[in-house]
Every structure is written in structure tokens, then in C-alpha cells.
């Protein structure tokens, strides 16, 4: 990231009130904001302004937000965070599986938004972290040595448990859909077997969380998937 020119954030959102506070929040983080009020304008800006992050509202006046995303994805790997509404879990899953890096549900706080933006930018650069050590709360995963510990105590895991945890850790902070996790951990033929995930997530929480019914690291996004809390987020 260059120090001389500020990174560009592209806001594709038709509501002026929302654009205004997004701009305030992002400029506070050192971004230059480019605003688009329609999908086609957004696509044009994405091509010409070289944004480093795109915030995309899925309810646009001229076209389906998911189509806007797919169009941008045809030639660009810029991180995209979609803004969506509560109760639209299917839309979230579609967005994530269709190339969005993350989503955020309206209404949201600025802190929440900035955390998603940070996570999305980080992973787009690295396509999943290649860090050797991932930490979240009291959990520590040594990826090179395949060693998992909580508060310094090594916790034995089964091969599948480890693979699941490692996948979540590689994308810590990001929501991973059921389908993505099943494909990564069990292979492409198991993407319908969501109960596998539920059983193994329960086992992981039993081993890794202080109170499995109040998880601080292995978070559930009902209807969408799972997310490992980032280091600064987990308690």
C-alpha cells in the first residue's frame, strides 16, 4: 500500500444517508471514497478507479446487486463486502458463494463494518492467510506443526476436526458457508451433508471453548455458515 496516495473505497449504494456515514467512517480510516448510486455506475467506477475495497448494496434501483458483483468479478479480484438485510440468508449464501468476500447485515455499527473491511482486504491479498500461527482469544493454532492449544495446553484433535479448524483459521474473521467448508474438509461430494459440520463444530467447541454454549472463537452465522473470531474480537 502506498503512503502517498490514499487507497480508494468504492461505495455502491443508492441511499444518501447510508453513503454519508460510510464515507465518514472510511475516510476516518484513511480511504478516499468514490460513490456510485446505481449498479452500472458502480461497475464503471470499479473498472476505472482501481478501488481496493468495494462496498456493494444488494438492493439497487437499476440492477440486481448480485449481478453487479458477478460483472465486477469477471475481471477483478478486488475485495467486495455486500450490504444486505436481515432475513435474507439465502442471498448472503449466494453472495458469498458467488464471489463476495464478506457480507454485513443492515443495520450495522461502524466498528462492525471496519472489522469486515479489514478482514476482506487482508485475505484478498493473501487468498487465505499463510501465517504459521493463528491466534484467537485463548486459542492458538500452530499451522506448521499442526498443534492446537488453549491457554498453552495442547488439545488433541481428530484429523477432520483439525482440518475444519485449520480451514476456519486460514480465513479467520470471515464467514465461510456450509458448502465451502464441506468441500474443503470432506471433499466435493459431501456438500449436502451439513449435519457433519454441526457434529464436528460441536466437538470442536467442547474441546476449545470455555463455555460451548457461549462461543467466543467458533461463531455460528445461522443459515449461512461459520466464522472464526479474529484475535482482537474474541474475548
Amino acid at each position: 500500500m502506498s503512503e502517498t496516495t490514499a487507497p480508494v473505497a468504492l461505495l455502491i449504494e443508492d441511499e444518501v444517508g447510508i453513503r454519508r456515514f460510510l464515507r465518514a467512517a472510511l475516510e476516518g480510516q484513511g480511504f478516499t471514497c468514490v460513490e456510485a448510486t446505481t449498479g452500472s455506475e458502480g461497475i464503471a467506477h470499479a473498472a476505472t478507479r482501481a478501488p481496493e475495497i468495494v462496498l456493494l448494496d444488494l438492493g439497487l434501483p437499476d440492477m440486481d446487486g448480485l449481478d453487479v458483483m458477478r460483472r465486477i468479478r469477471e475481471w477483478s479480484t478486488v475485495p467486495i463486502v455486500v450490504l444486505t438485510a436481515r432475513g435474507k440468508e439465502r442471498e448472503k449464501v449466494e453472495a458469498l458463494d458467488g464471489g463476495a468476500d464478506d457480507y454485513i447485515t443492515k443495520p450495522f455499527s461502524v466498528l462492525e463494518l471496519l472489522a469486515r473491511v479489514r478482514a476482506a482486504r487482508r485475505y484478498r491479498a493473501e487468498s487465505g492467510t499463510s501465517a504459521e500461527i493463528v491466534e484467537s482469544g485463548s486459542l492458538r493454532i500452530d499451522m506448521a506443526r499442526r498443534r492446537v492449544s488453549v491457554l498453552g495446553n495442547v488439545v488433541p484433535l481428530t484429523p477432520i476436526e483439525y482440518r475444519l479448524l485449520a480451514t476456519l483459521a486460514r480465513y479467520a474473521g470471515r464467514v465461510l458457508t456450509h458448502e465451502f467448508l464441506l468441500r474443503e474438509v470432506w471433499g466435493p461430494t459431501s456438500t449436502e451433508q451439513r449435519h457433519y459440520l454441526r457434529v464436528y463444530m460441536a466437538q470442536l467447541r467442547q474441546k476449545l471453548e470455555a463455555d460451548p454454549s457461549r462461543p467466543t472463537v467458533l461463531m455460528t452465522e445461522p443459515g449461512v455458515g461459520y466464522r472464526m473470531a479474529e484475535a482482537d474480537e474474541a474475548g
Partner: protein
């Protein structure tokens, strides 16, 4: 059962033959004028039994037989004495008069019987129709009557809302071709019978509109077998049936319309209750937000203390949060009630769903202890998104209404093939009317107005739980406080998963 024509004429021949035989036996003892009396008697008997035609036949045959056998010269049809012509004329006249009279009597009697039967059939139909309440029911009853009383095949067709024709009751084979279908439509449109000629109706199909003066409500199609004929009397009966059925259909329509109006009134009432409640619940936070935001905006000189500014900003955030919750609840309830929300059951971990609910409540339960004891529950079939909301609303409700800082308990167990999930608090508990009404929309328990709820959360819980096929109830705990119990049926057993050995740290690639 009336005899056929051929049989009545055969009968009259037999009677004449019998009389002739009797006359042959008695002719030694009787004058020929007495013998004519015997023939006259025969003619009268035939007239009474078989009617006018056979009576005239009998008279003619009688005259011929009498002339041939008994009038000299015997065994010729020649007549020597002119007075026998008078005898012949009298016999013919008697035959015609008696025959006509008895025939008229018989017709009257027959007519009375037909009328009686028709009235009985109409009475039975109207009686049966009176106890039916739906259109389909009325039509099924009517069609059964028509088929039974008239011995024909019948079919009832009604117009659907989109202008098509639906066959609701009877025998579909009545309509044999596309042309028959079109005839039904024509009848429906014109309100006049189709395929019905004047007088008796022969084999084929015809269509009667069923109408009570406000338009054709249905069409009755009747098909006759190859050798079946409907006389005008029975056609009359069909017409009478048609009006009766038309009236019954009209009655159904009016009942429907009355019910609809009643439902509209209820909806209207519910809507205005909702509107008044919602407008209050929306206006309160909006007032606070507007006040705080304009104060901040208009403080151009920066006169407000930093603490005050912070308080105002917090007010805006809190009240917006409250609005968010209210609107979310309203939307959920609308979707649940309109039936557009589908329950999508999968095998879920209760612990995970409870965990997601507590995470989502987040700041709202800060400072309060929520104790969870779920033991080792198996996966349970449920819609995670919806059930997470049930748990969230129940915990939120417990925290708001318990009125103290005691912990909220979540307890789950599997019992009798159902999941029992209890959310309990140690607060002031529920009054009697509370426990009956807490799940009603917009109901707020005692003192609830201080807690900022709109009385929707528990109504949503009930809708969701019931959509899962479960139940929810509220009661007081023996030691004080309220307990809400959700029961979810568990059907089938969770899919099996092979267990796996822990290979510990540094396990190799699998």
C-alpha cells in the same frame, strides 16, 4: 308398471276370445240378446283395464265374433236381421264411451301419482340440500339425487375464478367431446339450457343452467342412454330440481359473502389495533432520536459538554436499536402470519442454536448471567434461523421482565421423543391473565410498558414453535419466577456419523 301397447291389445283379443268361449257354452240357455250383454261386459272390462284403443278393438272383434258365430246365417259375416246393426252400434258406442271415461280417470290417477312422486322427490332434495353448507357439498348431493330419481348420468360444472370450468361433482363421462365442453360454457354464459328440445328428450346430452336470479352459478349436464327417453313430466321435474339447486347455491354464496365480510371486519379491527400500537412504539424512539440528533446538529457553538454530547449520541444509538428490533419483529410476524415463511428443518445442534442466540443478544444481556445446561442432546430437526429467534426472544423476555439481576436459566432435555427447552427466571412471575395471554400479539404483561417491548416477541415464538409442530407454554416456577417451556417433536433419528480416533498432535496427512 303399465303394460305395453301390444300387450293391452293382446289382452283385449284374449278377453273377446274368453267371452266367445263362454257364449258358446251358454248359448243353449240364453237368447242372443243376452249374449250381446256378455260381449258388452267384455268390452267394459277391457275399457277399464286397458283403455280406449283396446276397448274399441274388443268391440269390433266382439261384433265380428258375435256376427260370425251367433248371428244367422252362422259362420258368415252376413247379417240377415237389420236389428243386429243396432246391437253393433250400441256395443261400439259403449266401448268408446267407457274406454274414454276410464282412460281419463286413469290419466288423472297417473297424473296425481306423478305429481306426488315429483313433490316427494323435490321435498327430499330440498331437505337434503338444506343441511349442506359448501358449494361442493350441495352439488354432490344434488347430482346424487338427479341420478337416483331420474336414472340418468349427470355432471355438475362450476366456473372458476379465472374463467375456466371446473367439474365439481357427478360423472365425468357425461361430457364426451370438446363440443360438450363448449356447450357447458355456452350454458354458463347464456344462462339458457343447451341441447334441450321442446317435448320429450331422447338419447344424448343436454345442459341446464342453475340460477337463482343473480346469474348462473353452475351447470347441470345430463346424458341419456341410447334407449332412454325423458317425458315432459320428468323434464319438468328436472327444471324444478334446477331451481332448487340454484337456490341452494345462492344461499351458499350469501353465507360465504357474510363470512367474508365478518373476516374483513376482524382484519380491519386487528389492523387498527396494530396501527395504534405500532405508531406509538415507532414514535417514541423516533422522538428521542430526532431530539438528540437535532440538538447535536444545532450546537454550532459547541456549547454542549462532552458528557452531554456522548449521552445524546448514545440515546440515538439505543433508540435506533429499539426501532430495529421492533421493525424486525413486525416483519417476522407478518411473514409468519401470511404463511410466506417456510420452516426449513435440518438436523441441528441445540447448543449451537442457543449459542448463536446468546451471541446475537450480545450487549443486551451484558451484566446478566445466562446459565445453559443442555447435557448431551442429539441433533434435533429444526429451522435454525427461526429457532434461534425463539431462544433469543425468550431470553430477551426473561431479562426484561424478571425485574431483578438473578440469572436466567436455559435447560434442555430429551423426553418422550420430544425436545423440552425451558427458559426460566427468578423474577416476579406471571399473573393468571399473563400466563393465559402472554403469547397474544401486543399483549404486555404487568409493568411491561417500562421495558420497551411491543408485545410481539412471544407471539413470534408461538408462531414459530407451532409452525414446527411443537407447543409453547408459560407457567410460574414453584420457587418464584416464570418458566417458558418449548416442546418440539423429534421424528426419526439423526443421520449417523462415523466416529474418528484422535490422533493427537502432529498427526500425519489424511
Amino acid at each position: 308398471m303399465p303394460l305395453t301397447k301390444a300387450k293391452t291389445y293382446a289382452g283385449s283379443v284374449l278377453v273377446v276370445a274368453g267371452v266367445t268361449a263362454l257364449a258358446l257354452l251358454l248359448r243353449q240357455h240364453l237368447e242372443s240378446s243376452d249374449l250381446t250383454m256378455l260381449y258388452l261386459l267384455g268390452v267394459v272390462v277391457v275399457a277399464i283395464s286397458f283403455g280406449r284403443g283396446p276397448a274399441i278393438t274388443a268391440a269390433v272383434l266382439g261384433v265380428l265374433a258375435f256376427d260370425f258365430i251367433f248371428v244367422p246365417p252362422h259362420f258368415t259375416f252376413r247379417v240377415s236381421d237389420a236389428r243386429y246393426f243396432v246391437t253393433f252400434a250400441v256395443m261400439l258406442a259403449v266401448a268408446v264411451i267407457t274406454g274414454t271415461l276410464t282412460a281419463r280417470l286413469r290419466e288423472q290417477r297417473e297424473g296425481a301419482r306423478i305429481r306426488e312422486r315429483r313433490i316427494a322427490a323435490l321435498y327430499r332434495l330440498s331437505h337434503d340440500l338444506a343441511v349442506r353448507s359448501g358449494v361442493a357439498d350441495v352439488l354432490a348431493t344434488a347430482v346424487a339425487h338427479v341420478q337416483e330419481v331420474l336414472g340418468v348420468r349427470a355432471l355438475m360444472s362450476v366456473p372458476t375464478d379465472d374463467g375456466a370450468i371446473e367439474h365439481l361433482a357427478g360423472d365425468r363421462s357425461v361430457l364426451e367431446s370438446e363440443a360438450d365442453q363448449q356447450a357447458v360454457e355456452r350454458t354458463m354464459r347464456s344462462g339458457r339450457p343447451v341441447g334441450l328440445s321442446a317435448g320429450a328428450v331422447g338419447p344424448g346430452v343436454f345442459h341446464m343452467p342453475l340460477d337463482a336470479g343473480t346469474g348462473t352459478r353452475a351447470v347441470l349436464s345430463i346424458r341419456l342412454h341410447d334407449d332412454q327417453v325423458l317425458e315432459p313430466e320428468r323434464l319438468e321435474l328436472i327444471r324444478a330440481f334446477s331451481s332448487l339447486i340454484g337456490l341452494a347455491l345462492e344461499r351458499c354464496r350469501m353465507a360465504d359473502s357474510a363470512r367474508h365480510t365478518q373476516a374483513q371486519i376482524e382484519i380491519e379491527r386487528a389492523r387498527s389495533a396494530l396501527l395504534s400500537s405500532v405508531s406509538h412504539d415507532l414514535r417514541t424512539p423516533l422522538t428521542a432520536i430526532t431530539g438528540a440528533a437535532t440538538t447535536l446538529r444545532d450546537d454550532a457553538s459547541g456549547a454542549l459538554a462532552t458528557g452531554t454530547r456522548r449521552e445524546l449520541a448514545e440515546t440515538i444509538a439505543d433508540e435506533a436499536q429499539r426501532l430495529t428490533r421492533l421493525i424486525g419483529n413486525l416483519l417476522d410476524l407478518t411473514r409468519l402470519e401470511s404463511g410466506t415463511l417456510r420452516v426449513h428443518k435440518e438436523w441441528h445442534s441445540v447448543e449451537e442454536v442457543v449459542g448463536a442466540a446468546l451471541t446475537r443478544l450480545g450487549a443486551e444481556i451484558s451484566g446478566r448471567t445466562v446459565q445453559v445446561s443442555l447435557g448431551r442432546l442429539p441433533l434435533i430437526p429444526m429451522d435454525d434461523i427461526l429457532f434461534e429467534q425463539v431462544v433469543r426472544n425468550l431470553v430477551d423476555n426473561a431479562i426484561r421482565h424478571s425485574g431483578n439481576e438473578e440469572p436466567v436459566l436455559i435447560h434442555g432435555r430429551l423426553e418422550d421423543e420430544e425436545l423440552r427447552l425451558e427458559v426460566s427466571d427468578s423474577g416476579q412471575g406471571l399473573s393468571e391473565s399473563d400466563s393465559r395471554r402472554v403469547f397474544e400479539k401486543f399483549y404486555r404483561g404487568r409493568g411491561a410498558s417500562n421495558h420497551g417491548g411491543a408485545g410481539l416477541g412471544l407471539a413470534i415464538c408461538r408462531s414459530i414453535v407451532e409452525a414446527h409442530g411443537g407447543t409453547i407454554e408459560a407457567a410460574n416456577r414453584p420457587g418464584g419466577g416464570a418458566v417458558f417451556t418449548v416442546r418440539l417433536p423429534v421424528e426419526g433419528s439423526p443421520p449417523a456419523i462415523e466416529s474418528e480416533a484422535e490422533t493427537g498432535v502432529r498427526e500425519g496427512q489424511t
